[in-house]
Structure formats: structure tokens, C-alpha cells
Subunit: 257 residues, 5 copies
């Protein structure tokens, strides 16, 4: 799993919980109606804005994003180079033995096409369509988290308004004013935390992840097309190096010295 | 009717109502002067900003958007392909029998032109003008909901200010302070809910719907022009496939295997 | 006068007044110092930002915008077509008899140039300069209302701060706290209402009006240039139809059937 | 000095002072620690963001902007035309007698170069560099006032928070609560006024002034290059008229009739 | 170290501390749970949004930015000119004696390549990659400070909500209400100060610094490539002058007179 995100969530909720525990108890911050308004309300607004099918697919996007580790470009270049060497020496069909060791479904699908003798152009076109689907899903995911990041604080405020209106409407028992306001404010707390610790940073991460995945997938497509066209391993590797970031290219150069 | 939007509204208002009902009664949240200020005020501002004619046409846009189901592109390609096959085999006039079964007025109008022998260029031009009208209406609709999404919370605040000023101006009876503030806040509640659960998500949906409708209408125009020019069904279908999204193209490919 | 804007203002202020009258009296919402801060302050800021000459010209812009009715494009095409027919049949000088019936000063000026035998290029250049002046005035007007829309709520808050500070500084008489706060809040009310019911919608309308006027003026320039060049009425009308919006073009087509 | 800005400031601060004086005294609105936080804090942030050298140069920019009157384009065209006529009739050296009567240092510098016989291209290049420096200073000035416009209200709020925290921390003497809150709020008042009456409008004016100065300087450069190249006065004047705004060109045309 | 930033921070925190000390003591503004929520929470959100590796590298960026002094362009042009003269007279190897006197690692690396006889194109390419890495780090640093500038006030508000909810939930002891609210507000104070005095201005400075460093590095790359290609010192210096800002070019011109 993506470690940074994990650390961030644990640390973030840990900080909040620690600060709460220093002066009170966590159960003061649980409020069922508030959670219904903040989370239920903004999820409902999400369904008004986006087609139901897309809202539900966002979980798949998140799972893919955080559970599937992307290979680093230099590592992937080496792997594709090794496969090209193998294909050169022992023929395309020898690639079949390597298939079980590959856990990336995108690469697996491409290699199967190479083994089946699919021409390079057709392979490239098919995988580009696959990549467009991935990008589209990422972009929709980012848009949803951005929308939630704006709508959660708004529904948090709606919940607080509900609580305040109910409390103010029945001021018979002054001793309950404080508790009523406390409960009312919990919804704003939910909205602010959900937006700032979860939704907005996740929207940023999805965007970064999408760029990263696009790069590595385009590198794979280029490499698989080279395999399909029977390019020599050396030519292939040198072409794939154009995909490296300046940082990585510098590290490669240092490693090569 | 558009199901997602429906589900979203029902769920959203349901969440709010449930949260209210847990600690009080819904009637606390009804306030006639507040509704006049929030909804009346922002609708009036809409009339200041947009020509009256356009404000009134927004209901038509919404009705079209939510009650008229758009065909899915692959489905439409098959339908146009079938019509092309029919026209090839039995001549254009045979299309007339199919007219009663078509409930989309845009397609009906196009088919009538094909049957009348309108040349392909003229047909294309006429339908493009029709499409521009539809897009213009959608764009205006989106702009209005965006404006309402910004203006409803503002008028909600205006209503709350009115309530607070009136309450503060007559503090004779301290027992009525709470109730006065509660009523004042209901207007902010109206504005926040109207903007975040209704107007802003609808603006987003109208935009998405506009893109979707533009795509399917352009597909229809292209297909009808092909019919008018007497293209062969196979050529026609393969050209129309360029309109498919990557997702749909992938599904078509899977289905074809 | 522009009816939509008129209706919007009457309805908007009517809603506010009605809501106020339901629970109190309108005079609670009059406060001279508050009005000085909100309206005086933001107008002063306008004078800091824009040259005095331009601030004063905004009234002319508004008057022109709301009191001068623009002809509809199809109507104008017919009028120019009729003038061209007249000029064809009886010569340019015959246009002179039509001048008194034309109440649009832009068109009057153009026709006078046609009658005087001004060459088409010179006429076009002169009227384009006139049009640029109009557009510049509209753009400045829009910028000012946008600025006021942002600055009115800010000065409303400044006024409320003044009221609160004065009230808090002299808490000797607790019975006056409520009244003091009420008066303080009236300024925020002024700022919010002025921005959301008047300035921001007017800025939007000025922009739309500017587009509309540009279109009709360019149509007029094109038509007058045609008159000056002695184009045939039919050629002239068909060229002017390129200025029609899709909506209008569709209606013309329907009318022609 | 620039009259509009002057009127705006006098009127704006006048309005505020008048509104204050109606119900209290101005001294309630003086608070040294508040001023330190609001003005000191945001100026410090300015020094963190911009190099010290640039922050200090902003005073020069303001002085130039408000104390140096820019000539109007038509007036400047006439002056340059007169100089060209003089140079034609009596030779370049005759321009020397006119130098003392010119109070614009940019024009003086250019004329000296013309008298010295500097070739037109060199003169143009040197003055363009001068103009770029002026524009760069204006742009930095605008950016600073925009930053202050955002940072003043924020530091105003910081000051109010300081006041509130100190007041709430020592509630021993309830009679001082009101006074404490009043003082705390003065800082927010400083921030809101400084941003909305001074900084944001000044940023707007600097931008407009920069456009205006660029125009007149480019007109001067063009005119001086013409002088240096020995262009005839008539050719020179007609070329410079291309710099006039549509408004001014219309007025010239009216004057010429 | 960068003096302006230093002065800004000292002055800014000095203003705040002075204002606080005038009416109370600094220790009222220390609150451990508040600091945990504001700083811990927004740093955690940073880790959710950016890869851990990049978050940690931001300290290096800051250190480089504020401890490493960049040479001024005219000064650097003179230094490169002197090196070129030396290389012309005594050969490239003579540059080796100058290496210990150069404390800029970028320049040192480039000179070593020149001494080793690296061809100009290869040298340029290698240093461009190095420069891209620097720019990428700066851009990420700016993005992080912008994100913190938005997220610190949000977490400040979350902390204040926690404090208020806990205080309102236990109103048994009315004498502690004030102190509770004071503590709650300290978190908002942290967020506002951190964002407006530290993060947002630093984001602005990083951007300006990045532009400045890009300019001087490109000047160095151009100069080193000239050295490697054996350009004459005069040609080299005159080409490098194209990198000077208008301000600097004017000063050079004045100095040359």
C-alpha cells in the first residue's frame, strides 16, 4: 500500500485524537445525526452531480491507487530490457515462461499480445485505449474529491445550523444550552476534518498518481511495441530512457559512472 | 427520469429530514418570511442578471434533461446501422414505416429530411443549427444554477440579518430571544441547502449532460448525413465508432471477441 | 426600459420589504451612519481605483443600457433591407425622408453619412471607432459593478465593526446592547443587499448587453456599408443573416416555410 | 497630484470619521498594539515575500504615480509636432532652447539624445530599456498592494484573536469585557479599512496608470525617433495619431470639423 | 543568509510578541494540544498529498534558498569573462588553479567539465538536467507552502472547534468558560499566523528565487559552454549581457559612461 498516504492518515487522525484525549474523551465527538448530515448530505450531492455508475467506481480507483504499487521507471526499463534480450535470444514464445512472475495486469495483457504475434501498431492502439480509460477514471475521481472537499464543510455548516436552531427553539432548560451547542458544532468539525485531512489531499494525490501512472504506462506501451517490432534490447533501452525524469536521469548517470 | 439525480435528491433531503427528526420536529424549519427572502431574493437577482425569457426557459431545459432519456452511443450506432441496412435494401421511403417507433424528436426530424431526399450538406447544416440552440440553452442553464449557487447563501445571510436585527431591536421579552434567533437562522439553512444540495450539483450535471447530448447528437448528425448520402451500412457503422468513448470502445471490443 | 431588470428590482426589494414587514417595521432598517459607511465608503474606493471622469460616466452607461431599447436582429435586417430597396429604386437622397422616423442615433449618424455619399470604407472606419467607444464604456461599467460587488460587503462589515466597537465601549446601559447591535448589523445588511441584488447582477447584465449591442451595431455597420456601396437588397439581406444567432436563424427558417 | 485618488481618500476617510463621530469619539478607534499587529505584521510579511530593495522602492513608484502628471496623448502629439516643425525650420540645435520648458525627465532625456545627434535606432533602444524599468516597477508595486490587500485583513484578524484571548483569559472584572472586545475588534477594523479603501483600489489604479504611462511613453519614443530621423512634422503627427484611444480619436475628429 | 526574509520574520514575530506583551504575557499563547492539531494536522495532510520523499526534501530546498547566496548577473558576467581571458591566454588547464576559490557547486562542476575537455553540447545537456532538477524541487516546494497556507487556517479552525466543543460540553464551572475559549482560540491564532506570516510569503519568495536562480544558472551554462567552445572573452561577455534585466542593463550603461 501507498505508505505516505497511510502515514499521513494515521498521523493526522492520531494528532486530532491525542489533542482531544488531553482534555476530554473521544465520545464527545461522536454524533449520529451530525454524521448523517455531513457525510450523507455531501454524498447525496455527489449523486446529484455525477452519474451513479461513476460515483460507485471511485472505490475501485482508490483501491487501485493505494494497493497497487507502480514500478519505478528505471526498474521497469531494466525489466523490459531483460524481456527484449530474452525475446532476441530465444524467440517470442520464451516470454510465456515469464508471464506468471508479472503481477501487473496491464503489462501481462501487453505481453500476451506480443506472444500472440500482434503487430506493434495494433498493440499500441489497444493499450492506448486502456490507458485513456484509466486516465478518465482518475480525472473523475479527482473531480469528485474536489467536490467533496467543497461540499463537506458546507454540509457541516448545515448540520450545525440544524443543531443551533433546535437548541435555540427550546431554551427551557438553560443547563442544556452548552451541550446542545457542543453537539451542533461536531458537524462542522466533521466537515472541516473530512475536507482538509481526507478529500482535498486525496484529490491532490490522485492527480499526482495519474501523472505517474500515465508516464509508466506510456513507457510500457513504448517498450511492448518495441518488443512486438523485435527491436534490439540496446535500442529499446536507450529509447525508453527518454521517459525518465531529470532527477532519475541524473541518478542513472551517477550509477553508470 | 434521470435516476442518479433522483436518488441524490431523495437521499439528501432524507438525510436532512432524518437528522432533524431525531431531536425535534420538521415544522421548526418552516419559516415563510425566510423562504421569501432566500428564494424570492435570489430569483429576483436572477431576473436582474438574465433576460426574463431565458430565466423562464430554464424549466424546459431541466425537464428535457431529466425526463428525456438519451440513447447510449453503441445502441444508437446499432439503430442507425439497422436503418442504413433497411434503406439500402428497400430504398429510403421504407424508412417511413420506422418513424412511429422513434420517440426522439431530433432523430425524427432528421429522418424526415432523409425521406424527403434532402441533400446531406443541407441536412447537416440544419441539424447543426438545432444542436447549437440546445447547447446554448444548456450553457445558459448552467450559468444560472452557478449564479443561484452563489446568490442563495448570500440571500440566506440577508434573511438571517433581518431576523437578528428585528430580534435585537425588541429585547423586551428575553424568553423570545432563542426562538427569534432560531427563526433567523432558518434562512441561512435554506440558502446553504439550496446551494449545496440543489443548485451547484445541478450546474455540474447540466454541464456533463450537455457534453453527453452534444456527443450523441453529433453521432446522429453524422449518421443521418451518411443515410442521406446513401453510404453502405458497414462504412457508416465503422465511421460512427470514432464517437465512442475509450470505455465504450473497450466494451465493444470485449463484446466482439 | 429594460423590463426584466425592472421586474427583478421590484420583486427583489419587494420580497425583502415584505419579509421585514411581517415581523416589524421598515424604519428599523434605516440607519444614516451605516449608509454613509457602506455606500459612501465603497463609492470613495471606486474613486481611488478609477479616474473620476470614468466613475461619473457610469450613469450614462446605465441610462443607455436600460432606457434605450435595442432592435432585434431580424427586425433590423428587415429595416436595412427596406432602406436598400428604397435607395435602389429612388436613389440615396430618398433615404433622407426616412431619417425622422429613426430614433437610434447610431443608425441616424450612419444614414447621414450614406446620404452625404461617404465611401463605404470611411463610413465603416468611423462607425467602428464609435462602437469601440461604446464597448470600452461597457467594459469599464462592468468592472466598476464587479468592484462594488466585492467592496460593498467589505464596507458593510467595516460599518458593523464601528457599531460594535462603539456599543462595546459603553456597556453602561445593558438595555441598549440589543438596539446597538441591531443598528450595527444594518450596515452588513446594506452591503450584502447592495452587492447581491444590485451590483453583481448588473455587472452580469452589462456584459450580456454589451455582447448584444456589439452584435447589432456590427450588423448595422455591415448594412450601412452595403448601402453606401450600393449593394442589391437581396445580397445585403442574405449577408446580414450571418449575424443571426442559431435560435433566431431557426425561427426565421420556420417563418419562411 | 492625481485628483481622483485624492478625492477618494479624503471622501472615504471622511465618511468613516463622520459615521464614527455621529455616535462616539474617534479616539475609541486608536489602539497601538492593534496597529502594530495589523500594519507591522503585514509589512513584515511583505519583507518575507519580496526583496527588501523592492519593498523600499514602492514609495518612489507611488510618488511618481501620484505627483507626476502625465500629459494627455493629443496634447503630447501637438508638442512633438511643434518640436518637429522647429527642428525642420531651424535645425536640431534649436531644440536646445526648448529644453528648460520641459518638466518631464523622460522627454528631456530623449530630446538631449536627439540634439546630440544619436541615431534613431539607438535612441529607441535606450528609451525602451528605460520604459521596461518603469513597467517592471509598476508591476511589482501592483503585486505588493494586492498582497497587502489580502494580508491586512488576515493580520487584522490575528490582532483581534490576540485581544480576545487576552480578554477571555482574565475575566475577573466583568465590567471590562466590553472594553476588551472593543479594543480587540479595532484591529479587524484596521485590516478591513486598509485593504478595501487603500490597498486594493491602489493596486487597481497602479495597473491602469501603468497602461496609461506605457502608451504615452511609447508615443514619445515613436515621436523622438521621428525627430532623430528628421521626419516631416506632418508625417510624424499622422503616425502618432495611431496611439490615440477611440474616445480621443473621436474627439479629435469632432474638433477638426 | 537571505537578509530580507530574516528581517521579515524577526520584525513580524517581534510585532506580534510586542503587541501581546503590552497587555499580557506570552505564555497565554502557548497551548500544546492546539499546536498538535494545527501543525501536526496540516503536516499530516501534506504527507497524504505529497510522496513522503518530497515532503522531506523541502528542508533542503529551503536551506539552499536561504543560506546559499546567488551571485548577481553583472558580477557573474565579469567572473566568466575573467575565466575566459585566463583560458585564452594560458590554456584551459590554467582554470584548475581558480577552482578552490569558487564556492558555487554548480559552477565548480561545470568548470571541471571544461577542464576535462567535455564538448560544449554535452556540457550544456548535463547542466540543463541539473537545472531542471533544481526547478522541479523549487516548484514542489512552492506547491507545498501554498497547500500549507490553505490548510493551516483550516486545521487552526478544527483545533478551535475541539476546544469549544469540550468547553461547552462541561459548563459545570462557569468561571472556566473564559479560559476555555481563550485556549480554543489559540489554535486559530497559530493557523492564521503560520499561514500569513510564514507559508504564503515563503511560497511567493520560493517562486521569485526560482526565477532568479534559473536566470543565473542559464547564464552560467551559456558562459561555460562558451568557455568549452573556446569563445573569445569579448564575444562571450557581449552574449551574456542578453541575460541582464532592463534595470541591470541600465546600471551597466551608466557605469560604462
Amino acid at each position: 500500500m501507498d505508505r505516505g498516504t497511510c502515514i499521513g492518515f494515521v498521523a493526522g487522525f492520531g494528532c486530532i485524537a491525542a489533542a482531544i484525549a488531553m482534555h476530554g474523551k473521544l465520545s464527545d465527538f461522536l454524533d449520529v445525526p451530525g454524521a448523517i448530515v455531513a457525510f450523507g448530505g455531501s454524498t447525496s450531492a455527489l449523486f446529484v452531480m455525477f452519474p451513479a455508475r461513476k460515483v460507485l467506481s471511485v472505490f475501485g480507483v482508490l483501491k487501485n491507487c493505494f494497493l497497487v504499487r507502480l514500478p519505478e521507471p528505471p526498474e521497469e526499463i531494466r525489466r523490459l530490457g531483460a524481456l527484449a534480450t530474452l525475446a532476441r535470444r530465444e524467440g517470442r514464445l520464451a516470454l510465456e515462461d515469464k508471464l506468471p512472475g508479472i503481477d501487473d495486469p496491464f503489462l501481462t495483457r501487453g505481453l500476451e499480445m506480443v506472444i500472440d504475434g500482434t503487430p506493434a501498431e495494433e498493440l499500441e492502439e489497444t493499450l492506448q485505449i486502456e490507458l485513456s480509460c484509466i486516465q478518465e477514471r482518475h480525472a473523475t475521481g479527482k473531480k469528485m474529491f474536489d467536490f467533496l472537499g467543497a461540499s463537506l464543510p458546507a454540509f457541516g455548516m448545515v448540520g450545525t445550523l440544524i443543531g443551533l436552531i433546535q437548541m435555540l427553539g427550546s431554551l427551557d432548560d438553560p443547563s442544556r444550552i452548552g451541550a446542545g451547542m457542543a453537539v451542533a458544532m461536531v458537524t462542522t468539525f466533521y466537515g472541516a476534518l473530512g475536507a482538509n485531512l481526507v478529500c482535498l489531499p486525496l484529490a491532490g494525490k490522485l492527480e499526482a498518481r495519474s501523472k505517474e501512472e500515465t508516464l509508466i504506462r506510456e513507457l510500457m506501451i513504448r517498450g511492448l511495441a518495441g518488443l512486438a517490432a523485435g527491436e534490439s534490447p540496446r535500442v529499446l533501452e536507450s529509447r525508453l530512457k527518454a521517459f525518465l525524469s531529470p532527477e532519475a536521469r541524473r541518478m542513472e548517470a551517477v550509477a553508470a559512472e
